[in-house]
Structures are given as structure tokens and as C-alpha cells.
């Protein structure tokens, strides 16, 4: 098994774990962690994509930018989670949902 196949398998596993986690997780902080897993899978996919296509530089520079952009999203999501905990006293999703329809 060569390196690329291995990376593709790891990417698929991370994506699978992430999507499954999104379905079963009920805690806001854990949701943010699961989102991070998904993004890390894509970062790895970019590195592999750059290598496969013969332009490793593009893949690596994109991967670095994705890490930055994604950290911003994680920070915003965590800030919201902090506000939810402060105002509503819980991080459990079924308990905070009131909007319907």
C-alpha cells in the first residue's frame, strides 16, 4: 500500500467519524470538536490532492490557509457556546431548542 492510498483511507475514516458524530452528538462543545475533525479530514485531502496532481505547493499552501479560516469559525462557534451556557445554563441541544416550524 502506497502513501496516497493510506492518506485517502485516513481521510475517509475522519469524514465518516465526523459525519456520524454530527448525527449523534448533543453537546455544543462536542459539536465544535466534531466539526474540527471534518475540517482536518479536508486539510489532509488537500495535501494528498496536491501530491497526486503533481503540484504539492498548491495543496500545502491551501491546507495552511484552511487551518486559519477554520480556526476563526471554531472561535466564533465556541464564543456562541459560551454565551449559550451563560444565558441558558446548559449546553445540551434538545434543552435549548425553542424555535419551531
Amino acid at each position: 500500500m502506497n502513501l496516497i492510498t493510506l492518506i485517502v483511507i485516513v481521510v475517509a475514516c475522519l469524514l465518516g467519524v465526523g459525519l456520524y458524530g454530527l448525527l449523534i452528538t448533543r453537546n455544543l462543545i462536542k459539536i465544535v470538536i466534531v466539526l474540527q475533525l471534518l475540517v482536518k479530514a479536508v486539510v489532509l485531502a488537500f495535501v494528498a490532492a496536491g501530491k497526486v496532481s503533481g503540484h504539492p505547493g498548491i495543496g500545502e499552501s491551501v491546507a495552511a490557509t484552511v487551518i486559519v479560516a477554520d480556526t476563526v469559525v471554531a472561535a466564533v462557534a465556541l464564543a456562541l457556546a459560551v454565551q449559550v451556557r451563560m444565558r441558558l445554563g446548559t449546553l445540551d441541544i434538545p434543552k435549548i431548542s425553542s424555535l419551531r416550524g
Binding site: V42, Q83, V84, L88, G101
Partner: protein, 507 residues
């Protein structure tokens, strides 16, 4: 090529965003802006008005040359074509009016300077999104725009509903952008480049893995589709649109979901050879959006939620227009869709701002924070005639009554469908026309309530008068809706190049 004008078009809003924030922080120590707060509002308005200047200059250059404009920063190329101009014109029109409206609406809220900073950033980022000529660049603009809109949706951080809507929006949108990014990675793996024009060339000439490209297209569809709110990826939209401050609801519904649509079209257009499949998919999602949005809107009691569901159905019309264009290969459908994008921005912006003005007079001035339900609009015309008039114009135009703008843009899409001569497309058009009738079932009763019912107690307790800064944007938008309904060809200068640009990127 005029680099400085390009830089100004994107740069003025983006640079003024931190300036406005810092100014607000430095002049007032408290969380709420003090008496110098008007300078912050004026600065924000000045920044967005100043952005019109590079826009007009670039437009003149584009008109004279008749071709796409390009410029580069090092190795990153950005472009301006008809689609960019359409998006920029929409963003600037509604952005200017929303900032003018917010001057009074948001006065005295906690963190007002942050509101203007994020709104200006969002305006700049959306214009940038239209200019991207590189798949990854497109994604970065898209993600940055999304982050600024998360913060604006969750702006009323002391309200549980607002926090919940913000959280839902962040999680769903983040998953969507991860999937879109995976699509970009798949394209990179097969073509070795991220430049859209080069990808088109590679896909067109070389024998590439068909299945891999289709998978990338599907990921673009799902990923960007979350932002476009294609049913069943729409569940964040009604919460976010109804919980955000009214100026932001107008921006979200009028331009942000449309910016997502532009991103999706640009990404899909790189995968040439599948245009027909994308066309049928767009038609299918369009029909689903129309029916689902209308049925759910019928059940709503809160006015802003109803308008949010009506956005779903209007996105359906736009998707259908694009689908007709791609399936039949004629520009008429794309031009109709571009026109509907523009008129929907006017109508839905007007509707949300008018509801906002009513909420301000009935609740905010009394220090109440609660959603406006249909019952609160009873007899509102006796005390606030201009608000009632502009909201009625918006609702009737959304329902597609002639001679208002909404009718004209739907009409263009329907005509394009019939001109194609394809039986299936005609079936879709008939379905859309029936949906348009169905939608009147929830717009018309509201108009009836405003004019023919006895005033509700909340209306009687409302403030005596509404300030002119709240009413001026409403009147301007209402005037535009009426004038464009009577003279739809007035917008041809914008919609024709946009339609042509859409057809040329899907060559």
C-alpha cells in the same frame, strides 16, 4: 487595467470596518454608544456610499470594453463580469439602505459599533466573492462572508432565540462549507490547478475521471446549497432570518443567500460538460423550494418567519430560471433569473425593513423585545400609513400581482420556459404559476389586516410617529418596486450582461 478602482471597490468597505469599530470604542467607554454615536453611524453610511464611486467607474470601463475585466495581486487573479456587477449592485443598494435604516433602528443597542463593523465587512466580502476567479479564493470569500453573518444573526446575545438561531446557522453552514471544500480538493486532485478558466480548459480537453468530477459537482451542490437554502438544506434559514435584527434580515434574505447562489454557480461552471445535469437538478430543487416554502409560510403566525419561508419559495423561482437557461441553452432564462434576483432583493428588503419599522414603533420604543405576529398588524394603516403602504406594496409584489416588479420578473422566467418549446419545462412553468397563486393566500390576508381590521391594542399603544430615517429607505424601495413593475426594461443594463455572463461561464 485599473487596479486602484478594483482595490477601492473591495477595499473601502473592508478597511472602513475596523475603523468604524475602533472609532466607536475610542469615543465611548460604555457598552452603549454615547452622544457621539452619530459619528459612527455617519461614518458607516459614508463608507458604503463612497463604494458606489469605484462601482460606477468600473461599470463605465466594462461598458466601453464589453469584456470581462481582470486584475491580479501577485499570482491571484480576480475578475469582473456581468454576474459580479449584478451581485455588487444588489449588495450596495440594499447595504446603503439597510445602514441608513439601522441608524435609528439600532440606536442605543449594546455593541452598536460592532454591528456596523460586521455589516460593512459583510458588504465588502460579498463584492469580493463575486470577483473571485479561483476556486479556493472563492471559498475563502464565502467562508469569511459566512463568519460575519454568523455574528450578525446572533447579535442580540441576551435573547435565547437569537443565540439558538446563531448556533444552528454556524453548525449547518460550517458543515456545508467543509463539504464544498472537499469538492475543491477533488477538483485539484484531478486537474492540478485552482484557476477556474484553466480548470474549464482541462476538463474540456483532457480525458478526466468522469465520476470524480461528478462527485465534486455533487459536493458543490450540497455544500453551497446550505447557504442557498435549497430544501432540505434550509432548516437554519427561518430561525436566522426571524431572529436577526431587521436590517440584517433584509440583507440575509436579499443578498446573502444570493451570494451563496453565485458561489455555487461559479463552482459548478468549472465542470463543463455536465451543464444539462445541473440544469435538471436546479429545476427539481426549484420546484421543491417553491412548494415547501409556500406550504410552510401558510402556517406561520410570526410575520418575519413567514417572510423567511417566502424567501425559500422565491429562491425556487430563481433556481427554476437558471435551470431553464441551462437545459434550453438560451440566455432568456438566465436573464429572467438575474432580474428576479434583483427584484427579490428590492421586495424582500422592503418587506423586512417595513416589518422592522413597525416593530420599532410598536415594541422597541416601549422597550419590549418580542416577535411581531400577524395580529399586531391589525389596523396599522390608521396610525402609520406609510409603513402600511410600503409593506402592502412589498407583499403584493412578492405575491406577483401586476403591475409590480415581482410580477415582471416572474413573467420573464415563465416566458423563457415557454419559448424553449420543451414540454417538461412548460410543466415546470405551470407549476410555478400555480405556486404563485398559492402564495397570495398568505400575503393577501396581511394586507387585509392592515387596512380593514380594527386596530390591535399593541398598535394603539405604539409610539406617536416614526422618524423619517426609518421611513425614507422604505419609500425609496417601494418606489423602485412600482417603477420597475411599470418599466421592467429599466434594469436591462444590469440583467442582460449578467444573463450573458451566466451563459458564457456554462459554455
Amino acid at each position: 487595467m485599473n487596479v486602484s478602482m478594483f482595490a477601492l471597490l473591495i477595499g473601502i468597505p473592508l478597511v472602513s470596518s475596523p475603523v468604524v469599530y475602533l472609532f466607536g470604542r475610542l469615543t465611548s467607554r460604555a457598552e452603549v454608544l454615547n452622544r457621539q454615536g452619530w459619528i459612527v453611524r455617519a461614518l458607516a453610511l459614508l463608507a458604503v456610499t463612497a463604494t458606489w464611486w469605484p462601482f460606477v467607474n468600473l461599470w463605465l470601463e466594462f461598458q466601453a470594453g464589453g469584456k470581462r475585466l481582470f486584475t491580479n495581486v501577485e499570482s491571484i487573479w480576480i475578475q469582473l463580469d456581468g454576474l459580479t456587477f449584478l451581485l455588487a449592485a444588489m449588495v450596495l443598494t440594499l447595504g446603503t439602505l439597510a445602514i441608513l435604516f439601522s441608524g435609528r433602528y439600532m440606536a442605543g443597542e449594546i455593541g452598536e459599533e460592532k454591528y456596523y463593523a460586521m455589516l460593512l465587512a459583510m458588504i465588502g466580502l460579498m463584492i469580493g466573492l463575486g470577483c473571485a476567479n479561483d476556486l479556493f479564493n472563492l471559498w475563502v470569500w464565502f467562508e469569511a462572508m459566512a463568519v460575519s453573518s454568523y455574528l450578525l444573526v446572533a447579535f442580540y446575545r441576551e435573547q435565547p432565540g437569537s443565540l439558538e438561531a446563531g448556533m444552528k446557522y454556524v453548525v449547518q453552514s460550517a458543515v456545508g462549507s467543509v463539504l464544498a471544500l472537499l469538492g475543491v480538493a477533488l477538483v485539484l486532485a484531478q486537474t492540478g490547478t485552482l484557476d477556474m478558466d484553466q480548470i474549464q480548459l482541462m476538463v474540456g480537453t483532457m480525458k478526466l475521471n468522469h465520476l470524480g468530477l461528478l462527485a465534486a459537482g455533487a459536493l458543490f451542490f450540497i455544500g453551497f446549497g446550505v447557504k442557498v437554502a435549497m430544501v432540505p438544506l434550509h432548516t437554519w434559514l427561518p430561525d436566522a432570518h426571524s431572529q436577526a435584527p431587521s436590517g440584517i434580515s433584509a440583507m440575509l434574505s436579499g443578498v446573502v443567500i444570493e451570494a451563496g447562489l453565485v458561489a455555487m454557480l461559479r463552482a459548478l461552471s468549472t465542470l463543463t460538460g455536465f451543464a444539462l445535469s445541473w440544469g435538471w437538478l436546479l429545476l427539481g430543487f426549484g420546484a421543491l423550494n417553491m412548494l415547501y416554502g409556500n406550504l410552510l409560510a401558510l402556517q406561520q403566525v410570526q410575520v418575519k418567519r413567514m417572510l423567511a419561508f417566502s424567501s425559500l419559495s422565491h429562491i425556487g423561482y430563481i433556481l427554476m430560471g437558471l435551470g431553464i437557461a441551462l437545459v434550453s441553452g438560451q440566455a432568456a432564462g438566465a436573464q429572467g433569473a438575474s432580474f428576479h434576483l434583483f427584484t427579490h432583493m428590492l421586495m424582500k428588503g422592503l418587506a423586512f425593513l417595513a416589518v422592522g419599522a413597525a416593530m420599532y414603533a410598536l415594541f422597541h420604543e416601549q422597550g419590549i423585545h418580542r416577535p411581531l405576529v400577524a395580529h399586531d398588524l391589525n389596523g396599522i394603516s390608521t396610525r402609520y400609513p406609510w409603513v402600511a403602504l410600503s409593506l402592502s406594496i412589498a407583499l403584493l409584489a412578492l405575491g406577483g400581482l401586476p403591475p409590480l416588479a415581482g410580477f415582471m420578473s416572474k413573467w420573464q422566467i415563465f416566458v423563457a420556459g415557454f419559448q424553449s418549446g420543451n414540454g417538461w419545462l412548460m410543466g415546470f412553468v405551470v407549476f410555478a404559476a400555480l405556486n404563485s397563486v398559492l402564495s397570495l393566500a398568505y400575503y393577501a390576508p396581511l394586507v387585509n389586516r392592515m387596512y380593514r381590521c380594527v386596530s390591535a391594542t399593541s398598535v394603539k399603544k405604539g409610539s406617536a410617529a416614526i422618524s423619517w430615517t426609518l421611513q425614507l429607505p422604505l419609500l425609496l424601495l417601494a418606489l423602485a418596486v412600482v417603477v420597475l413593475g411599470l418599466f421592467p426594461s429599466l434594469m436591462n443594463w444590469l440583467t442582460e450582461p449578467a444573463g450573458a455572463a451566466l451563459m458564457s461561464i456554462f459554455k
